[in-house]
Amino acid sequence: MNQQGRPTRSSIATQDAPQTFTGNRALEMGEALIFETGREDFTGVDLDPPAPFRPRLGGLERKSEIGLPGLSEPECMRHYVRLSQKNYAIDSGLYPLGSCTMKHNPRLNEKMARLPGFGDIHPLQPVSTVQGALELMEELADWLLKLTNMTAVALSPKAGAHGEMCGMMAIKAAIAAKGEGATRKVVLAPESAHGTNPATAASLGFSVRAVPAGPDGLVHPDAVKAALGPDVAAIMLTNPNTCGLFEREIVEIARLVHEAGAYFYCDGANFNAIVGKVRPGDLGVDAMHINLHKTFSTPHGGGGPGAGPVVLSERLAAFAPVPFIRRDGDRLSLVEQAEGTQAFGRMTAFHGQMGMFVRSLAYILSHGADGLAKASEDAVLAANYLRVGLSDLMSAPFGDRPCMHEALFDDTWLKDTGITTLDFAKAMIDEGYHPMTIYFPLVVHGAMLIEPTESESLVSLTLFLATMRDLAMRALRGEKERFLGAPFYAPRKRLDETAAARKPVLKWTKPKLV
């Protein structure tokens, strides 16, 4: 009988952490690749062989190796759970990744998207068997149109950049319809634009003319006027812009663009700041994509899927791509062929990101008109709370004007510290935060773009603020080692990206036996 019992406290006050046999550190465990642990002759899916049959493969049976290991279900669960534990996520902490809108993802939306009536229907079933799906798409479209005060919406684009492509195609089609396709070959874009804007314009055969922003971070009518001409097809302007500022002269810019016979494409990546507060249609916008995964909170999933419906003004509505929904009394149908319509074509197979439509409609219905406006307000409030709270330590490139949903700082304040924006970001990781967006927008040196979103409580915001202030003061005091080696506590230390790019290893290959 052990009368002594189990020790309930450590007998040693502190000591250096020992090396472990496995290299693991308690909950933090290494995980091999499936190719290193799985077996090619094993499968974790029980499938009975089919009864004998005569194949009709026309002699094209696979003879080449495949090279795919199989895992049992327990091995599989453990592999992916362990991997998941090496990720930072919104559900684990504040994720202030500017321009990406990492807000809470309601789980009701996941549940709704998995209803068999939405998740388990085929895009080419008879339309008589999917009337509820079309009704949902129509209801979402109606909300998007009313929130933006626009005329038509193309739901099918698969992500924001795809939506940009769709909107610019509508503009190109409208220009061609006016017989100006050969002359209007230039797209204006501010230097602060997302990289997708110039990439989109270029892929459609436009050349890009940069419009400089003023010292206040805003695009000014004079600069637009100077860049406009009979060769200009459109301007691509983000609003609120990538510096987190509302383009104050946007109505005048729209007027000038229209006066010059061009179109106004608005990058709607930051629509989340103004939903229910300002309608882009009231500002003179002709086309705008809406990132459902940002503004209406469909999960970002480690890099998608997104969805990028595009709202169009009356001037562009007729050119919207197929498919679109047509209502005939109680009956809904899909127009799937561009031939015989003015539609400019088709963006993708089938009808778009239905799974994202369900989630974003659930989000919209949950918030309602009042909740959507409140969410925008809270996002702006939170960003300004951080902006003001950091402004005495960190440098803001465009003065102390209120920002919208994200607060932008530059690295002027780090000058002479020997610490870069990257170092500062990595030190945030050690404090348990995902860093903000860094080095974007490109127009600001060492940019730090902080977007807290409306999902943070005041307690959370205040702790984040205190942490950022502490780090900033350490940086200014010259505690370089705290930053240059960071992160110290992440699953990996800084990774060598230069080596990765110089000699790319993009897949696992069997080690050669010596």
Binding site: V45, H194, T196, G301, E497
Partner: protein, 447 residues
């Protein structure tokens, strides 16, 4: 509002801290007359229960694939997905993370992408694969642009066996970019003369296998002919499960392989989100679109993964980027990778055999009834000629509780193919489902 943590008092405190009177003072740069003074005249917030009730009512109006014998394919296929897949992709750390811009705290997503890239490359028989595209159709359009970059030619040839939505998607982008494109007429039998259509003005020829009508295409002779003319061979696969049984496009000589990955790990979802697969030869890697994950070491010498070769991408190269793609299909790629890691090649081969066996059984049963199957070869889907209008037949059979397939006229109206029906039979259907198909067909033929 259940998703907004701030209280009225919090908001007042924060406004005071900021030094403004009201929230609208923060919207001071918005034009006065555009700033809405009150919420729009639209419904106000609703409880979970109310939203659930409303959406469930809409969902109930649809016929779910799993509720009936189901033979619909044409680029999206119903397969059984193990329960663990959906459980794992809903792990918060996968679901609510974003693109791994900070690799030290994104090794989970990055390792998954590295494994995904390896799985895809091995499956299609190519050197390298990217971290996913939106879907098969947009991947096809991107493959054509890539071929233009590699060959410095700007004209593509599309097979008449390519999925019509894929062709339309590629056509739209090509027209808009003012490139040239030749689209061959619908090729029901898989007999078109692609080799004869080749010339050295082409950047690429785009061929689907199994093709839209279900025929398997031997790409080997075409690949040799392409190589002789400096034309890249772009192979398209819309039913990725087929590669468990059918020779890989890579082994047959394709230069770029694009595919729809939905069949593995992902549900039908009325057409999206799906996952585009994109693979090519190592020598073309710097012309690829999309994200790439690569292996490297951290400063302690431990293996880790990062996004790499990003100098191809829009956020660095802007108007000189290989593509404008940014967000892709991360979570769908994860689902694909998990399902495939459970299957392994052993399970995949078996799954493919079952699919083929089911399709053969249905084709033979139809032939016994005197229905003409047009294919010389197929995997799990084939084309039959029916009496009268296939679209009307499908409606009739739907009323009999069988979703029978896709009338070719739905995708190719006016092509004179109104009596053709695409029928897919995957592992989800039983012998009883097959009998239900045959019985409903009889009823449909009589009506």
């Amino acid at each position: 509002m259940r998703y907004l943590p701030l209280s009225s008092d919090d908001r007042a405190d924060m406004l005071a801290r900021i030094g403004v009177e009201s929230i609208d003072d923060l919207f001071c740069d918005a034009p006065r007359d555009a700033l809405l003074k009150s919420p729009l005249d639209l419904p106000h917030h609703r409880s979970e229960l109310e939203v659930e009730r409303h959406l469930a009512r809409l969902a109930a109006k649809n016929v779910a694939a799993g509720s009936t014998p189901f033979f619909v394919g044409a680029g999206a296929y119903k397969h059984h997905v193990p329960s663990s897949v959906d459980h794992l992709i809903q792990r918060s750390e996968f679901l609510t993370a974003y693109t791994p811009y900070q690799p030290e705290i994104s090794q989970g997503t990055l390792q998954v992408l590295f494994e995904f890239q390896t799985q895809v490359a091995n499956l299609v028989g190519m050197d390298v694969a990217n971290a996913s595209m939106y879907d098969g159709s947009t991947a096809t359009a991107e493959a054509i642009l890539m071929a233009h970059r590699v060959t410095r030619r700007r004209k593509a040839l599309l097979s008449g066996g390519l999925h019509p939505h894929y062709a339309a998607t590629a056509r739209t982008l090509s027209d808009m970019a003012e490139d040239e494109m030749v689209v061959l007429p619908p090729d029901v039998s898989g007999n078109e003369d692609l080799i004869g259509a080749l010339d050295d003005s082409l950047s690429c020829v785009v061929v689907q296998t199994p093709d839209f009508f279900g025929n398997l295409r031997d790409l080997t002779p075409l690949a040799a002919a392409c190589q002789a003319k400096g034309v890249l061979l772009v192979a398209v696969v819309t039913e990725i499960v087929s590669l468990g049984l059918v020779e890989s496009p890579g082994a047959m000589g394709a230069d770029i392989v694009v595919a729809e990955g939905q069949s593995i790990g992902n549900g039908l979802n009325f057409g999206g989100p799906y996952v585009g697969l994109f693979a090519t030869r190592e020598k073309y890697v710097r012309q690829m679109p999309g994200r790439l994950c690569g292996q490297t070491l951290d400063s302690d010498g431990r293996r880790g993964f990062v996004l790499t070769l990003s100098t191809r991408e829009q956020h660095i190269r802007r108007e000189k980027a290989t593509s404008n793609i940014c967000t892709n299909s991360g979570l769908c790629a994860l689902a694909f990778s998990i399902h495939l890691s459970l299957l392994g090649q052993t399970g995949l081969k078996q799954l493919a055999r079952i699919n083929h066996a089911n399709a053969v059984a249905l084709a033979e049963a139809l032939e016994q009834k005197g229905v003409e199957v047009l294919n010389k070869s197929f995997f799990n889907e084939f084309t039959v000629r029916v009496k009268g209008d296939a679209a009307a037949l499908v409606e009739t059979m739907a009323r009999e509780g069988v979703l029978a397939g896709v009338p070719v006229s739905r995708l190719l109206p006016g092509a004179g193919l109104d009596d053709l029906l695409l029928v897919a039979n995957t592992e989800i259907n039983t012998a009883a489902d097959r009998d239900a198909f045959l019985a409903a067909l009889d009823k449909g033929a009589k009506s």
